[in-house]
Symmetry: C2
Subunit: 199 residues, 2 copies
C-alpha cells in the first residue's frame, strides 16, 4: 500500500505507528499540505476530502481519515478487539479524539509549528479545551494502563500521536504524570524513541 | 436500553433515528446540558466523558459518543455494511462528521438556539468552515444518492442529524440542491417529517 502523508502530522503518524506495529509493508509518499499538495486536482481525484493521511491499497482503492484507516488496518489483530462492545469502547475514544482532542491539542501545535506563531497567539478557548482534554486523559489513566480493552489498541495509538507532541503546541505535560507514564508505555510497546515530556 | 439525551441535540437524535429505524425498544431519559445535568457526579460515574448521548444497556454497560453508539447499534444490520472496506468507507464519513462538520455546523446552531446569539455573533471562521462542510457534502451528493455502500447507512444518519437542522444555525441550505434532495431521501427512508430546508 501507499501512504500519502506528512511525517510532522500526528494524524499521519497514527497510520505509520499502526502499520509499523503490524509489520505491514508500505511506501510513504510525502505530501506538503502548506504548499497545497493535498488540494491539487490529482490529489482530490484520489481522495475528495483533500486531507492527509490517505492510504491507497494495491487494488487502487483509497481510504482517508486517520482513525478510519488505523481501524481498518488493525481489523483482526490485537490492536482492535473482536468483541463488539470492546470494539465500541475503542470507537468511543477514536471519536472523542477527533471531536474533543485533535482540533484543540493538534490545533495549538499547528499554529506554533506550522504557522510559526508564539504561544501567546493561540486562541484562549483552544488552549483551554486542549488542557481540558489532556487533564481528562490524565484522570482516566490514573485508574488504568490503556484506554480500552485492557491492552494497547488503536485507541491508544490514535490518542498518542498528538498527545506525545503536545509540548510543541505550548502545552505542558509535566504535571500530568499518569499521562506521561502512558506515553512511555505506548512508546515502549511501539518501539518509538521516547519524546521529552517534562519541561 | 436507556438513552440519556436531549431531543434538541443532533448527536442525540442520531441515536434516536438509528434505534427507531431498527425498531429497537428504549427508554429516553432527558438530560438538560445547559443546567449541567451531564456533569453531575452521578452522570460522570455512569459516563466519565460527561456528554450526551449515553446509552446504558440492560446489563448496565454504558456507551458514549454518538457515532460509536450508532455504529454499535447498527452492527449486523443493513445500516452498517459487513464488508470490511465498505465499513471503513462508512467510518470515513463518521470521523469526518465529528472532525470537519459537527464543531462548525452544530456549533453555529448551538450558539443561536441554545445561547440565543444573533447570526452576526457567530465567529466568521466557524461559519466559513460550516459552509465549506455543507458545500463539500453537496458536491459529493451531486454524484450519488448516499454517502457510502450505495444505500442508507449510519454515515447518512450521522450526517443528517445536524445538516437538516443547519438553518437553525443561520446556514442557508437553499442553494445546495443535491444536499436538500438527500435530506428528503433520508427523511423518507427514516419516516421523519420533512424539515423546511429552503428560505
Amino acid at each position: 500500500m501507499r501512504i500519502y502523508g506528512d511525517l510532522q502530522s500526528g494524524n499521519c503518524l497514527k497510520v505509520k505507528y499502526t502499520a509499523d506495529a503490524l509489520g505491514l509493508p508500505y511506501e510513504w509518499l510525502p505530501v506538503d499540505i502548506l504548499r497545497g499538495e493535498s488540494r491539487t486536482a490529482e490529489f482530490l481525484a484520489m481522495s475528495p476530502m483533500g486531507q492527509v493521511p490517505v492510504v491507497v491499497f494495491d487494488d487502487g482503492r483509497a481510504l482517508a481519515q486517520s482513525n478510519a484507516i488505523v481501524r481498518y488496518l488493525a481489523r483482526g489483530t490485537d490492536l482492535l478487539p473482536e468483541a463488539p462492545f470492546e470494539q465500541a469502547q475503542v470507537d468511543e475514544w477514536l471519536f472523542w479524539e477527533q471531536n474533543a482532542h485533535e482540533f484543540f491539542v493538534a490545533g495549538c501545535r499547528f499554529q506554533m509549528l506550522y504557522l510559526r506563531k508564539a504561544a501567546a497567539e493561540r486562541e484562549p478557548w483552544r488552549v483551554a479545551r486542549a488542557d481540558q482534554a489532556l487533564d481528562f486523559m490524565d484522570a482516566i489513566l490514573s485508574g488504568r494502563d490503556w484506554f480500552a480493552a485492557g491492552r494497547l489498541t488503536v485507541a491508544d495509538i490514535s490518542l498518542l500521536a498528538y498527545t506525545r507532541l503536545a509540548g510543541e503546541g505550548g502545552l505542558d505535560l509535566t504535571p500530568r504524570t499518569s499521562l506521561r507514564a502512558w506515553i512511555r508505555r505506548c512508546e515502549q510497546a511501539l518501539g518509538l524513541s521516547p519524546v521529552e515530556t517534562a519541561q
